[in-house]
Homo-oligomer: 565 residues x 2
């Protein structure tokens, strides 16, 4: 009989017009935590704990309560700490230094209305910090005890600015009687990244835990990216799971549920193939940083983009089977939330899900092979034309809702702003990134030399991509900083791949003179820009699209090439 520990509506109320849907189903330990419940129209959330509950501070429960720790790794901390709307520096008066017993702190665990944590021998009441925490409620996992074991894994916290924030919430010290050798005794916790898969060494690693790695140049040269070179963007660890038995819950707005296991999904629904490019919202972030100033987040170069043929079943078919009336959608069916096994979650508009040409899949296979663990085994969502952050991996729950997903990744991380809103962006007002804008990049530039070793001409290659299924119709290259342009050759034909729209990048090649006047130069700066079928094109520089999150770094790409012998 499940133990239901209702959590107060306090945090929930702060997530205006949305509700918590993140769900983790951890088949290894049979615990499912927490899922949204509709109780007489009042939304609240509960912890469903199975017959074999893990200790409350396990990674399963961490995931269950999560939003992101790695949100910090992705760099939103600075933004948040400067966001006056969020009042991270709350007006909690520092109490006169008091002492607390460990037993008392333990009562202020993740289920408490007033969660406390310990760092060193100090005690902090983080009640007012939880919402502003870039990692969201995952911080509650540490509540009732010491932060250090978690920070030893998510080492991004070991920074002066984080310590400083925490100090705002200090309420006292642990009583000396509970210390051993002057320290608070700590429970050992398991490294959740221990079971992450082996990776191809050619991937360009940005962070090992969680794994974030770019496709190397050799992978970007191919139209279809080999699975082992497909870029990896993990927000947490890679879940371990019994594939065929892994369950996916589909919850409709009326609260009704239908559960499928992967085997059943594969057998019962028609299979479809879709070839699509996936691109991280932060692709080319480094070029925005270089061009317009510091941005928070993984400093991707041009390799956070790859293309594969995915095979699976159509999301709309599963939703219809689960009882959603596709022809006459209920008014509160506006968004489809996807919750992952580890903790991640995001949503897409319902219209994308039911669009007959939307091609949204629950995918099992990637380029003819079973999904690699890094890419969502046993089942992930594929949302063509949309920022890859919505193509949720390790899918565990689908929820139809009136509102967008309340997760960090929907409400905060993947948005962009007016360039002036660096210090105080209005997260609620900004639109979640869904369809991607047009972009292009260089992947290789080679001088071509004559028999004397003089540079005769130049060969440049790259890719261009636009979201929403808008085909790339032209790529222009400049060798004079954008004063004149030359049309590049497009190498790929959308008509030759699976899918209802132009979901894929196009590779391009330019061969020509380095300087239009034919003069010999020691160094050339090439520029590229693309145009899609709606004749949208890229902004010139980063100044006009700068945002402190470094999202959608789509300004003209530049390639510098040395032409000396």
């Amino acid at each position: 009989m499940p133990l239901k520990n209702a959590i107060s509506g306090r945090l929930l109320a702060r997530l205006e017009s949305s509700y918590w849907t993140s769900c983790v189903q951890h088949t290894r330990n049979s615990c499912r935590l927490p899922r949204p419940m509709n109780l007489g129209g009042t939304r609240r959330y509960s912890h469903h704990v199975g017959n074999n509950p893990k200790p409350s501070r396990s990674w399963a429960s961490l995931a269950s309560r999560s939003a992101i720790v790695v949100g910090i790794a992705a760099g939103s901390l600075q933004l948040l700490s400067e966001d006056s709307n969020d009042k991270p520096y709350s007006k909690v008066k520092k109490a006169k230094v008091k002492t607390f017993r460990l037993a008392e702190v333990k009562q202020h665990n993740g289920s408490s209305k007033n969660p406390w944590v310990i760092r060193g021998t100090s005690v902090y009441d983080i009640t007012d910090w939880v919402r502003a925490h870039p990692g969201g409620e995952v911080i509650l996992t540490a509540a009732g005890g010491s932060l250090e074991p978690y920070w030893d894994i998510f080492t991004i916290h070991k920074r002066a600015d984080v310590y400083e924030i925490l100090e705002q919430y200090k309420i006292g010290e642990i009583d000396d009687v509970d210390l051993k050798d002057g320290r608070v005794p700590q429970d050992a916790i398991v490294d959740p990244f221990k079971y992450d898969p082996e990776r191809d060494e050619r991937l360009v690693t940005l962070t090992p835990c969680p794994r974030n790695a770019e496709t190397p140049e050799v992978g970007l040269r191919e139209f279809i990216t080999p699975n082992e070179l497909f870029y990896v963007r993990n927000h947490f660890w890679v879940p371990t799971v019994d594939g065929p038995e892994h369950k996916i819950i589909v919850e409709l707005p009326d609260g009704s549920e239908r559960t499928y296991n992967v085997k059943e999904l594969k057998e019962r629904f028609q299979r479809h193939k879709v070839t699509t490019t996936l691109q991280c919202a932060g692709n080319r972030r480094k070029s925005m940083t270089d061009g317009a100033g510091p941005t928070n987040g993984l400093q991707w170069k041009a390799g956070a983009i790859s293309t594969a043929e995915w095979e699976g079943v159509k999301l709309v078919d599963v939703l219809a089977d689960a009882g959603l009336d596709i022809e006459n959608l209920p008014a509160d069916a506006q968004h489809v939330h996807f919750s992952a096994m580890e903790a991640y979650g995001a949503s897409i508009p319902i219209r994308k899900a039911i669009d007959p040409w939307g091609d949204v899949l629950l995918a099992f296979d990637m380029n003819g092979a079973e999904l690699p663990r890094d890419h969502g085994y046993p089942v992930r969502v594929i949302v063509p034309g949309t920022v890859a952050a919505r193509s949720v991996k390790w899918l565990s729950q689908i929820t139809i809702s009136e509102d967008e997903s309340p997760t960090q990744w929907q409400q905060r991380d993947y948005k962009s702003f007016c360039p002036s809103d660096v210090k105080n962006p209005d997260w609620q007002k900004a639109r979640s990134i869904q369809e991607m804008p047009v972009t292009s990049a260089f992947t290789r530039v080679e001088p071509i030399r004559d028999s004397k070793g003089e540079v005769e001409s130049i060969c440049a290659e790259g890719y261009a991509y636009s979201g929403g299924g808008r085909e790339i119709i032209r790529v222009d290259v400049s060798v004079d900083e954008g004063r004149t342009w030359h049309e590049a050759e497009l190498l790929d034909d959308e008509a030759q791949v699976s899918g209802s729209k132009a979901w894929c990048w196009k590779r391009w090649r330019y061969k020509g003179q380095v300087a239009d006047d034919g003069k010999t130069v020691a160094r050339a700066v090439l520029v590229v820009k693309a145009t899609d079928e709606a004749y949208n094109t890229q902004p010139h520089t980063y100044d006009s699209i700068f945002n402190a999150r470094g999202n959608l770094a789509t300004a003209w790409d530049h390639a510098k090439v040395s032409l000396g012998r």
Copy 2:
């Protein structure tokens, strides 16, 4: 019994992979000319002439054979004359000056394999020029006689460069015996613009015949543009027609036809309302000319855009009724051609036509009133999110085809190119403009003065729009040439108007300091740019999107304001 004058496949063959579908149904004189025919799989075109055929040089027959005269007015002449692929300067050897009798010239009329024209007393064999003629086959109307009566109406021809082109084709002179007072006697022709409607004087007229006029500032301030201030873009004259009895022919790929009159369309199909902005591909062309060099075409400022609520029936409902299998489209159902009564024609991809959220209408009403004659009475197409050139007015025929419309307006006028392709654009390779890119413009800038008359702040207003139903999510204004940006207030809410997607512009307002440092300046230059829901934004300057046609002038808009007392 209709007289069928089959025209040779000569011109047809030049229009690779497409065929002629322009049809005119002129109820006044009961002649219908010409429509596409499928004869045993061989495409050719014929003239259907009714019981009361007009003389071959009437406007009805002009329209019937047309493409554009006004294409020249729209300025593609220069491009074409320099297009080596088209070989307008064909290798016709200038024959020794010969003389011809008028009777012989008359035999070389529009139905001849070798059409000739007269200018002054000179005779020209225009066989090789017809295809390169910016106005297309309308030139054939003049074949067999003098050009002058036509050029007196389409006065754009009276230019040195036009005379020069014509001289390439001279083959001789009219025999003196046919001259009267040294001149070729000329038939009078009727001015086709004689029956054009009266217009509101506030419209900003660019050309009176055909009528092209911008919405004035007062009209751009409203979300819904009053009918009398809606911008007018006519390629020819305004047809006169008996509204309820006016017929629309629907032709399917198998050659089958279904004819509806307007009364029947109104009665038999469900009515729908859609509010949408329509924008000319040339809107703001003047700013491209000013910013990057000469462009061919009407030099529109920011007023070739307006918004209305349209009411009519869904195109897809009519197509289904006419027998098109929407669920299982035939492979050769790729494009929907729309032919107008006067001569104009264009096409859209079939997917836009059948998209359940595409909202393509055959509209009868505009803002609650019957369509004004200038806007397509009695029935026009409305293609939301798409360049207005596809929202064909005075609709007479719908043809489902494997290929795009072969008209000038589909194959040539409404395209854009790599900025370097000024002299020799590859028209066939370039993509027809359908969905529009994101844009924005100023419509009003007013300094706000304090009691002493000093400028205290500034109020700027304008609109922003994006194609494809992509909502405008942000408008940024700069008062320092784009170094820093301020978010403007968006005044309109898409949710409050009819339509499946965000088809409408949004008006915006910015109030703030003229200079960020608060200093008093005598003159300010404001800049505006918009972002749509796919986070596409506008290019900085015109250099990178320049095209000699001046289409899609979407660079940041600038407004200069004098701040002196």
